[in-house]
Symmetry: C2
Subunit: 395 residues, 2 copies
């Protein structure tokens, strides 16, 4: 497969956006990414989205967004893998351009979660879990994650407050990200006093939903300077996708032999490391799927950044901060940038590109050359891992 480069990025602020519709939000991100890439068109669109049918009564998003952005005629499709839809769309875009079938593609994630025309958002989000064997019992999506966190505290003997640093770190980084939803610092005391949602998950363990869209433009590395000559004139490094892998697990958490082990994270990360020829030690930062703080811990463990049961230690030792051993949620993460579910995976990619281009401002990870992203659909059921590398050249 041809190797892929990301040559354009775009995003909208994550917010309760009462002024724009689904197509308008998506269009803004798509057009920003095209402008950033110096292109006016692409061959295909891959739209990551989870909830448009339920909440906006709108499917056929491939046609909707190619039409709205003036890219009619193109190959366009919606991709769904629950909250992992964004990265799933990227992976399909990579294979489409990698195969040579398309020369270029837009991968966009979009979610319009406020102003629903359908069921309430909590019910809609529960469709990420197993409708027949989990949701039918009355459990919500946060409830499922609460059961997992409870088990973690029980197995490894951590206190709830030991998870505070994941949320504190995310909020501290979001302050410097103009696209983040929650740009406010929080303290350990705030964390301890936060309202309980589903014991032991409180409000500051959970990421806020929101409206938002993010987009990237991808082409083959070999076509840079050839079919896509504009890139030569832009003084920034080439960002290659050196690893892309996706794996699935049992859908229902209760089916897993070990609910504290994200086997799909381990599997997809191992494949991605292998493709990139690296180990976890080589990763300069990790945009992980901190929908709930427990998921940060499980991801860090499954991907080999810390021993099992020891992830809270990384936070307590300040190893997850911008200057730490493995910076996470460097632009706020799901926790503070916000989690417009089907768009999140593409926000992670956009943010990783910002880091690798040295455009991350106050939260720039110094000398970042290799970034990893991980996007999760369901409570660990679908997990997609990407590794991005910068050639470090500034022309």
């Amino acid at each position: 497969m041809r190797q892929i480069a990301i040559i354009g990025i775009g995003q909208t602020p994550v917010s309760e956006n009462w002024d724009q519709s689904l197509r308008e939000i998506a269009g803004e991100a798509v057009l920003s990414a095209l402008v950033d890439a110096g292109l006016t068109s692409v061959d295909g669109l891959f739209i990551g989205n989870m909830l448009s049918g339920q909440l906006s009564k709108q499917e056929n998003l491939g046609a909707l967004i190619s039409d709205w952005t003036g890219l009619r005629g193109r190959d366009a499709v919606k991709v769904e893998a629950a909250c992992g839809s964004g990265a799933a769309a990227l992976r399909l875009g990579i294979m489409a351009v990698g195969s040579g079938e398309l020369d270029s593609a837009i991968v966009a994630g979009v979610e319009k979660m406020t102003e629903t025309k359908g069921p309430d958002t909590t019910a809609a989000l529960a469709t990420a879990a197993d409708a027949d064997y989990e949701v039918i019992q009355g459990v919500t999506f946060v409830g499922l994650n609460a059961l997992v966190m409870q088990r973690y505290l029980h197995e490894y003997g951590w206190r709830h407050t030991d998870f505070a640093s994941f949320s504190i770190n995310a909020h501290a980084n979001a302050i410097h990200n103009p696209y983040a939803r929650l740009r406010e610092e929080i303290t350990e005391k705030d964390y301890q006093r936060a309202r309980m949602i589903a014991d032991p998950i409180n409000l500051l363990d959970a990421s806020p939903i929101g409206d938002g869209a993010a987009a990237v433009v991808i082409v083959a590395v070999d076509d840079l300077g050839g079919k896509f000559p504009a890139q030569n004139t832009i003084k920034r490094p080439t960002i290659r996708i050196s690893g892309s892998a996706s794996a699935t697990d049992y859908l229902a958490v209760h089916s897993r032999k070990d609910p504290l082990w994200l086997s799909a994270a381990a599997l997809s990360a191992r494949q991605a490391y292998g493709q990139a020829g690296i180990t976890p030690k080589d990763v300069d930062f990790f945009e992980l799927h901190d929908a709930f703080s427990i998921m940060s811990a499980l991801s860090l463990e499954a991907c080999g950044f810390v021993e099992r049961g020891q992830a809270p230690r990384l936070g307590l030792d300040r190893e997850i901060g911008i200057h730490g051993r493995i910076p996470i949620s460097t632009r706020g993460g799901l926790k503070a940038r916000g989690h417009p579910v089907g768009a999140t995976g593409v926000y992670q990619i956009v943010e990783a590109v910002q880091q690798l281009r040295c455009e991350a401002g106050a939260t720039q990870v110094e000398g970042a050359r290799i970034g990893m992203t991980q996007n999760i659909g369901g409570s660990g059921a679908t997990i997609i891992t990407h590794i991005l590398e910068s050639d470090g050249m500034k022309l």
Copy 2:
């Protein structure tokens, strides 16, 4: 891109299936296709589905179906392009295997439309159209197609009854397909007397929805006999996918300069013909998207099988029958096999493979070597065209 072969097919009868859930229907088709291919596993699953979130309150179908079929761990995703979801999933599977990233894949389409846990099915189907500019006016999906058919009758001067042969042909063929929903002959008199739904579309112009799943197993042609040696022992021809293309149009019908011209059909068909190196004259049969009889006419015209405005003539001259110039709906089409929307595109592929393997029984198109399929999402907004070829060899 590596060329792709279809080495296994599976399907369930289209019906009101009150006894099986979404995952059970999908699982049956997937496992049948694996058995037919002589495989026990594949690298990835591409699930075409439109309505599971709305009607079954279940998303994350990639994980759901890989879990249910014992294919946990694999790369798996849901693909949505309204009623074109099935063929859209196939196209993504083709690019994934074509790129070399995966060695093999299952492409399955599934829809569970009866026994809804959500809104009524008519409202759910309307999400294929433009929610903000069409559906908000109160128009249904059949209503949109009725406007198009009315315009066609006006422009070209045909009578409604001149469309009867499309439905009569589909029903005549479905009698011989054990997987078809409506296995009953109809006459021109039946057609004329059928209950009106949305003038001029009556009950016998419209395809019935239903529950169903269809699946195919794909690998690279170059791997046949190598990585997939089992194929050597099965005495049937190799079925190659020689053309695959997808295109979009304005989503809203009222935005199109000419609502009687399916530009996405013309565009994708032209691309597919080019890839396969053929012209419409070389196509031995055409599994088109006869969700409504007007769509049969528009597809035949846009793909170059007949002049504009003349498609009813093909029917009146018996050119669309099994022994005609361009047989369509050879296994019943959407009209009589049934239209489980997100699954339909894969049913078309399964049926084309049956023809090319000479397994179509009483509706076998004699000497069929090249088959074309076309799957449509929305009222022509997303159109995916595939061309399949048999090498004709029987070992």
